[in-house]
Every structure is written in C-alpha cells, then in structure tokens.
C-alpha cells in the first residue's frame, strides 16, 4: 500500500509543477539560446516520463502480476 501511495505522489508531481505556471514563465536563464520557459518544459517531458515509468514499476511490485485469489476482491 505504501508503494501505491508513493506511485501516486510520483504521478501528481509533474501535474502540480506544470500547472504552477508563474515559477517557469520567464526568459532567463537561457540554455543554447532557448529561453527558460521553453527548455524547462522540454526537460519535464523526460522527468515526467521517468516518474511515470517508476510509478509503473512500483505498481507492479506492489501487486505482483496475478496474485488475486478466488473470492478476493480489491
């Protein structure tokens, strides 16, 4: 159950970060000529992907693949 909660937290992080626009709607610091606003969001594509993959692994190990027994409902 703790693993599932952790997976939930990992999934919520990118949503909260990207909806909190004021913290990244700025031009400086630039990277390779890209204003911060743009490269920061590109960076989050990768971070979000990594977080989602981690969450996926967590849900797998938390439940096993087919661990349900007959009559067990959850």
């Amino acid at each position: 159950m703790r693993k599932m909660a952790l997976a939930g937290v990992l999934l919520v992080i990118p949503v909260v970060v990207l909806l909190w626009v004021p913290h990244y709607a700025k031009v400086e610091p630039k990277l390779f000529g890209f204003p911060f606003f743009f490269w920061y969001q590109f960076l989050w594509v990768f971070i979000c992907s990594a977080l989602t993959w981690t969450a996926y692994k967590l849900t797998l190990s938390a439940r096993g693949k087919t661990t349900h027994k007959v009559g067990e409902d959850r």
Partner: protein
C-alpha cells in the same frame, strides 16, 4: 504588405510543385495498399464483430499501441494548427500543447488501467458501455455516447483541413471548377473509407507505423537543419519576440486586447494552466482515444505506454517551435485565394526551405498523419453509434455480426459527413466546433472517471452535472466573439467567474458540473433514491489478461452472444443479462 506584393507571392507559391506532389502521391499509394493488406495483420477468423473490426481483437502489444496511440492523438491537424498558433499569436495559444501532453500521461496512468480491466472483463467497447454497466442507466449512457459522437465529427473534419493545407501548398485544389478543386481530397477520403471498411482498426494500426516514422524523420531533420539557415535559435526567439510585441502594440492601437505572447505574462498564467489541464482531462474522454487504448492486449500495456508516449510530446514541442522558425525565415503563408492563412505556415516553410522531394516527404507525413486519426475516429464514432444508440435504443436483439455491420456502414457515413462539412462550410466552423467539442468532452469526465473509482456519485446527479456543464460551456463559448471577424465561438477562453482572470471555459464548466454532482448526490443519497444496478465487482477493475479466472470467463463468454455480463463463479458478480 502592399496588395501587389501579395499577388506576386501568391502566384509564386501557387504553381503545382511536381516533384513534391509525385513523392506525396507515391507514399500515399503505399499506405493505401498497406491499409487494404492490414486485414491480414494479427489475423482473426472473422472480422464480423466489434471486438475484431472495431478493436483489432484487443490484441495490440506495447509497440503497436505506442504507434497507434501516437498516430491517433497527435493528429495532422495538431501538426498544422499548433505551429500555426505559435506563428500567429505565440506561446499561450500554441505552446500549452506541451504541458498538456505531459500531464496527460500521469492522468491516464491513474484511470486507464481500471477502464481497460473492466472493459476486458465485460466486453465493453465504449465508455458509454461502461456507464451502462455501472449504473444500468440508459439515459446516462446515452448522454456519454451522444457527447462523444457529436464531438468527434468536427475532429474528423479537421483532419481533412490538414490534408487540404498540404494539397493547397503543393498547388492542388486551385481554380474555380468545383470538381477539379476538391477531387484530390475526395479521392483520398474515398480510399481511406474503403480500407477502413474492410480492415477496421487494423488499417490505422499498420499505417500508423509509416506515419510516425515519417513524422519523426521530417521533424528531426527540420529541427537540426533549419535553425542554421535562419541565424540560430537566438535569432529565432528574437524574431518571435519582436513579432509578438509588434502584434500587441498594433492590437492596443486598434483598441483591442493584446493577445499575443512570447512567454506568458502574469495575466495569462491561468489561461495557460487551465488550457493544459482541461485539454489533458478531455482528450481521453474522446471515443477515439478510448478505442486505441482498449485495443491493447493488457492493462500494463496501457501503463507502459503512459511512460513512453511522451516521446511524441517532445516532437510536438519541437514542431511548435517550427512556427517560430517560420517567423525568422520570413515565411508567407498565403493561400491559393491570395489571402494570408496561418494554417499553411508549416507546409509553406517546408516548400520554401527544402528541396522539392523532401518537401514532398513532409507533405506526405502530414497527409498520412491525417488518415490514421480520421480512421480511428470514424471507427470509434461508429462503435459508439452501433453499441449505444443502435443496439441500446433501436434493435435490442442485434447480434455481434449485425453490430459490426452497422458500425462499418456508420464509419462510411461519418466520413461522408466530415467531407460535406469541410467542402460546404467555412473551415473556421470546423475549428470552432472542435474547440466546443473539447469543452463538451470534459463534461463526461466525472461520469466516466469518477465512476471507475466509486459508486458514491448518484447517476441522476452525474446527469444533471453533465447537462449543466454542457449548457454553460456552450453558452460561454458562443459569447466569445472573434475581435477581427466579429463572429461567435471565436475561442475557448473566457473570464473565470469571481477571479477576473481568463481561463479555459471547459474547466469552469467542469467545476460547475462537479459541484452540482456532489451536492445532488448528497441529497439523492440522503433521500435513498435508487442508484441503479451495478454489474461490475471490485475485482473487475484489477483483472489482467493472463489472470486464470479471466481466461475461464473469456472461454465462457465466447459461447454466447450476450453483449453484457458473464455467468461465472466470482462471488458478487452480476448474472448475465
């Protein structure tokens, strides 16, 4: 720009680009053959059921699903419209697509596996099927089905707009002869309709490979090659900033609100965030997203895809920036009618900057990119019609073969409608209705997603919330007037009541929807009004394809023709209907 110069440019770009057109036609024919051959792909004994024709036998693994969902969600219209929005008004209207397609995946990770499992267990093909099973309520199910069906129509029409943009820049579709003008589009769509009819969902699954490889190739080449040609990224962002500032100054001078943006200013934070959130929540309510997700072979396939689909979001971000590359390159997107049309900016950029054959590849990428989503959307809309309208309301004892037949015919009708829509009405209508469609789709989110997790919500409360969201969203969108053309449905942003900030109308309508649903649920539950009969059990939401009991159920399911329910040994499961 003087009118004279406009004419000259239009004449220069108006000619037929023979090489590009040849490449486009060859690639197009290639995917047409692939589309017809697709019926042999992961071959089934018979395509005469919705599971086979409409969901590809629910057999697609991780990579096929990746291509299929990628080809489905990142449509030709997206590839045309997002850079066009960047080109015309900048980051708020265009670049929100990036956070939108990032936060999309954590959101679907959370609920799509549950939807996959319950659909797998009960043979649901559409979300309206699920709602029907969860509440045994035909009205609520119909509300979901009709919303999805109606919102998908203009979306299909927009795929045609994408093909039209390419054909126009390639020089086709000019002249006053109505037959010659629209013949290429007509042929393209007739071919699409024919192989969708014969191969079902397997056709877009196969074509999606070609489409996505072309798209990746074209965008990566463009993003590496083009910046060097126009003075590097510093120059590109500089040119974009200058244009947006000039736009805003001109708007203020004309007495209008400045709506262009380089990086969103403090007044646009809410708009940017709500556009991203609302679009992300609405996208997987669309029937075509659900169809592609349910065609995967396991609940984990869906979740793995949530982690690898962002590759497309990265490409979409690069593509958005090509809109600004076009500003630095001085691209003039002028249609065959001599009018400036921002929608043509990406095809025009490729025609100006690349050799003709590569421009042809880029045109093909966009045109084929329109076929995949158009096929899936028409299949999804057709499934929704045959399952939730035809079988539910018109012919209750329809067999799976009859359902598939109706679906196949409906997929033709839906495409014909889209074609008529685009050929007879102003393009802007399709765009407006698609914006409205997004607002509508989001109103089905509580009915579908909340119900996947809980049955606390009351079916009537969900229905009233949905209706209120639909009405509010439609009225608000109607009241948005385009400052230039003076027409209604001019956009999807409006003041958020009580906050005096601009926000996405869908999100405001959603909040009203949910508040109503919660309040009415509390009242109805207190009054002990019946909340319908639930044919699902908690186990259904976790079941995976290789679960032994699921295998047993599936074997049993194959012996009868009931659309819903299975007689099985799991305690608490509802009997077959």
């Amino acid at each position: 720009m003087t009118p004279q110069l406009t004419t000259v440019l239009a004449a220069e770009t108006g000619g037929i680009n023979g090489v590009a057109l040849t490449v486009l036609i060859v690639l197009f024919l290639l995917v047409t053959v692939a589309g017809f051959m697709a019926s042999r792909f992961k071959r089934a004994e018979s395509l005469e059921s919705l599971d086979e024709w409409g969901l590809g036998g629910r057999s697609f693994g991780t990579w096929i699903t990746w291509f299929l969902l990628g080809g489905d969600l990142y449509t030709a219209y997206t590839f045309v419209a997002v850079p066009a929005a960047m080109f015309a008004t900048g980051a708020v209207a265009g670049f929100f697509a990036v956070p939108y397609t990032i936060i999309l995946y954590p959101i679907i990770f959370i609920f799509m596996a549950r939807l996959w499992s319950v659909s797998h267990r009960h043979g649901y093909v559409t979300t309206a099927d699920f709602v029907r099973g969860r509440y045994d309520d035909r009205t609520l199910s119909l509300a979901v089905a009709v919303t999805g069906f109606v919102a998908t129509m203009p979306y299909i029409a927009l795929q045609l707009v994408g093909i039209q943009a390419v054909l126009e820049v390639a020089g086709l579709g000019g002249g006053d002869n109505i037959v010659a003008k629209d013949a290429p589009l007509f042929i393209a769509f007739a071919l699409l309709a024919a192989y969708t009819y014969s191969s079902g969902l397997r056709a877009p699954a196969v074509i999606a490979f070609v489409k996505d490889i072309l798209i990746y190739l074209v965008i990566i080449v463009a993003i590496i090659y083009l910046p060097g040609q126009v003075g590097g990224w510093e120059a590109i962002f500089g040119a974009a900033e200058d244009k947006m500032n000039a736009n805003n100054e001109a708007a203020v001078e004309a007495g209008l609100n400045p709506t262009s943006s380089f990086v969103p200013g403090s007044g646009a934070f809410w708009a940017y965030a709500t556009l991203a959130l609302g679009s992300a929540m609405a996208l997987f309510m669309y029937p075509h997203s659900i169809t592609a997700s349910l065609s995967s072979n396991s609940r984990n396939t869906v979740r793995r895809n949530a982690a690898i689909l962002p590759a497309y979001s990265f490409v979409l971000g690069l593509l958005a920036l090509l809109g600004w590359v076009a500003i630095a390159a001085g691209t003039q997107p002028i249609g065959l009618d001599g009018e400036a049309n921002a929608q043509l900016v990406i095809p025009q950029l490729f025609e100006d900057m690349f050799p003709a054959w590569f421009a042809g590849v880029a045109f093909a990428a966009i045109a084929i990119g329109a076929l995949v989503p158009a096929a899936i959307m028409s299949i999804a809309a057709a499934n929704t019609f045959s399952r939730n309208i035809y079988k539910e309301w018109l012919k209750k004892d329809a067999t799976p073969a009859q359902e598939a037949k109706v679906s196949k015919l409906m997929s033709l009708l839906v495409k014909a409608f889209a074609l008529v829509f685009v050929l007879t009405l102003d393009k802007q209508n399709a765009i407006n209705f698609q914006l409205l469609g997004g607002i509508w789709m989001m109103q089905t989110f509580p009915v579908i997603v909340f119900s996947l997790f809980t049955r606390w919500f009351h079916r009537y409360a969900l229905l009233v919330g949905w209706a209120a969201g639909m009405v509010y969203g439609t009225i608000e969108a109607y009241q948005v007037v385009n400052p230039v053309t003076g027409k209604h449905f001019g956009g999807s942003l409006a003041l958020i009541p009580g906050m005096e900030k601009m926000g996405y109308i869908a999100v405001t309508a959603f909040v009203i929807n949910v508040v109503l649903a919660v309040v009415l649920t509390a009242i109805l539950n207190a009054l002990k009004v019946s909340n319908g009969k639930d044919e699902t059990i908690p186990f259904d939401y976790f079941a995976d394809a290789d679960d032994p009991r699921v295998q047993k159920d599936l074997a049993e399911h194959s012996t009868h023709d009931e659309a819903y329910g299975d007689p099985d040994d799991i305690p608490g499961n509802a009997p077959a209907r």
